[in-house]
Amino acid sequence: MSVRVLLPNAFTKHTEGKKEIQSNAANLNDLLTDIETEFPQLKTHLRDEQGQVRRFINFYVNEEDIRFLGNEKYTFKDGDEVLVIPSIAGGSCSCCSYCGQEDCTCC
């Protein structure tokens, strides 16, 4: 069983330019392990200080947001195509532009 994983350009600095891998992962957690094994440099960028996958990174399976499919409970099927896409936002910041504090109340 194999799934095709497409990585965004934003990752390529940490993947030696590779934009695609094949994985035998059964679920999202296994897939993350696979990606991090293949690209060890990516790990510190992919996860925050608590080891959680950063919240702006989204996973899609065959055009469907994996959160609609059960997230880590979803079992990949042979031939699934997994897209990894960071959110693109443009509003205000969480670390404040002015006071520099995370979760500040001034902006």
Binding site: L6, P8, I85, I88, G91, S97
Partner: protein, 428 residues
């Protein structure tokens, strides 16, 4: 002079030179523009702004465009209307409407963001631009790109309102209908922007694009006589506008143009697509994506990019978010048109209905100075009103026929309307 703005990661703070880039390469979080307020201080005074053009470019000193840039499309500087008749209807005493239904050239606030995004596209040397859109952005990109001479690819959900499709194609833009909802379209655009060297205004140019929304906030403050309102009620799709109005107010305070004041921000969504409203109501620090099902297609973004930031901005301000049904949206479109002569699209119906509810629930007090932000024009979504008004039989062009018609009308009117006729339209 050094350019007085640059990109910065909103999460880890890493700084970047200006480039068509929207994702931090260190933590994959969104980038935003940081303008150098100190550099802008000398040009961003009440006097200099007043001498500027009657468009959003009067605030150029705080927009991420080169100093010598001359905006070729005079968007913005839309009316801030006192709304006494709507206010009376919904129990308010001090209500204003920021009317971007008449923002030019394409009759929505998206003309503001596109003005800034395409200035950036020119700076970066793109020859092709595009966007993913729920309609208004498509119209704006197509029109501005035509004027600036860009080639244009615009991707929209296939079920978009016919008027919004026509209002894009007429400018010569290549419109690509995608068999999916906005979130599918947006995702595809992220991949296309990775593959092709195109300037997508809301993907790789998004940090610049988003800054254009600040001009709504600058204008509200200036049009109120350089003061801030008590409350802002703002529609939410991706969630960017509400945070940028807040950022604009903050900048005005920093520069001493207005007195500091706690402004409360209220977000408006349709119940059929309410991920940000739900997050505010439940106190969640994340957005649960939804599959949109509402007539307010311009707000139908189930996985809003700025949702987390919008929810946080609302909560930190002491505001709230509400969502309303499609039936309420249609009624509110009619109510705003009937009371204030402003015909808005479905998003404006959402904002108006939510404004009414906020007063009804006591979240906004009648005397507080409140601005309801209307972002688009009703001529683009006339299908939302399909079947609302019956087509009457034509009257023969004879006075006796009209009199008979008028008698039939009177028979169907209520007491209040009859009294109005008796007092006002006497027959000679």
């Amino acid at each position: 002079m050094a350019i007085a703005y640059e990109l910065q990661c909103r999460e880890c703070g890493k700084r970047y030179e200006n480039a068509p880039l929207s994702i931090c390469e260190a933590c994959f979080s969104p980038l935003e523009v940081q303008c150098d307020l100190e550099a802008a201080r000398k040009d961003f005074t009440r006097e200099k702004i007043a001498q500027g053009p009657d468009s959003m470019w009067r605030y150029k000193a705080l927009l991420p465009v080169p100093e010598e840039y001359v905006g070729p499309t005079p968007s913005g500087w839309t009316p801030l209307l006192r709304a006494p008749r709507l206010a009376k209807r919904i129990g308010a005493n001090n209500l204003y409407i920021k009317n971007d239904a008449v923002c030019t050239p394409t009759l929505s606030f998206k003309d503001r963001v596109v003005s800034v995004a395409l200035a950036a596209a020119q700076t970066f040397g793109f020859d092709t631009v595009g966007c993913s859109s729920t309609g208004n952005l498509a119209n704006a990109v197509a029109a501005h790109a035509a004027r600036l001479g860009f080639k244009t690819y615009i991707l929209v959900p296939a079920d978009l309102e016919p008027a919004k499709i026509l209002n894009t194609q007429v400018y010569g833009a290549k419109l690509v209908r995608i068999d999916g909802n906005y979130d599918h379209v947006n995702r595809l655009c992220s991949q296309i922007a990775d593959r092709y060297n195109w300037g997508f205004v809301n993907v790789n140019l998004r940090p610049y694009y988003a800054e254009g929304s600040k001009t709504v906030g600058y204008e509200i403050a200036e049009q109120l006589g350089w003061r801030l309102p008590d409350n802002i009620v703002c529609p939410m799709a991706g969630g960017s506008l509400i945070t940028k109005i807040k950022k604009a107010f903050k900048e005005l305070v920093e520069l001493g143009l207005v007195e500091d004041k706690e402004v409360r921000f209220f977000g408006a969504q349709a119940t059929g697509c309410s991920p940000i409203s739900v997050a505010v109501k439940t106190g969640a620090d994340h957005i649960e994506p939804q599959k949109p099902n509402t007539i307010a297609r311009s707000l139908a973004i189930g996985n809003p990019a700025d949702g987390v930031y919008a929810a946080r901005a609302i909560r930190n301000s002491g505001g709230w978010a509400e969502d309303v049904s499609d039936v309420e949206i249609v009624s509110a479109i009619q109510e705003l048109a009937e009371t204030e002569g402003v015909f808005t699209e479905t998003a404006g119906g959402v904002t108006t209905a939510v404004t009414a509810r906020l007063y009804a629930h006591g979240r906004i007090k009648p005397d507080e100075l409140t601005v309801s932000v209307i972002t688009g024009n009703g001529l683009k979504t006339t299908d939302a009103l399909a079947g609302v008004y019956e087509v009457e039989e034509p009257v023969r062009p004879r006075l006796t026929d009209f009199e008979a018609y008028f008698e039939r009308q009177k028979a169907t009117l209520g007491i209040e309307e009859l009294e109005a006729i008796a007092g006002g339209a006497s027959v000679r």
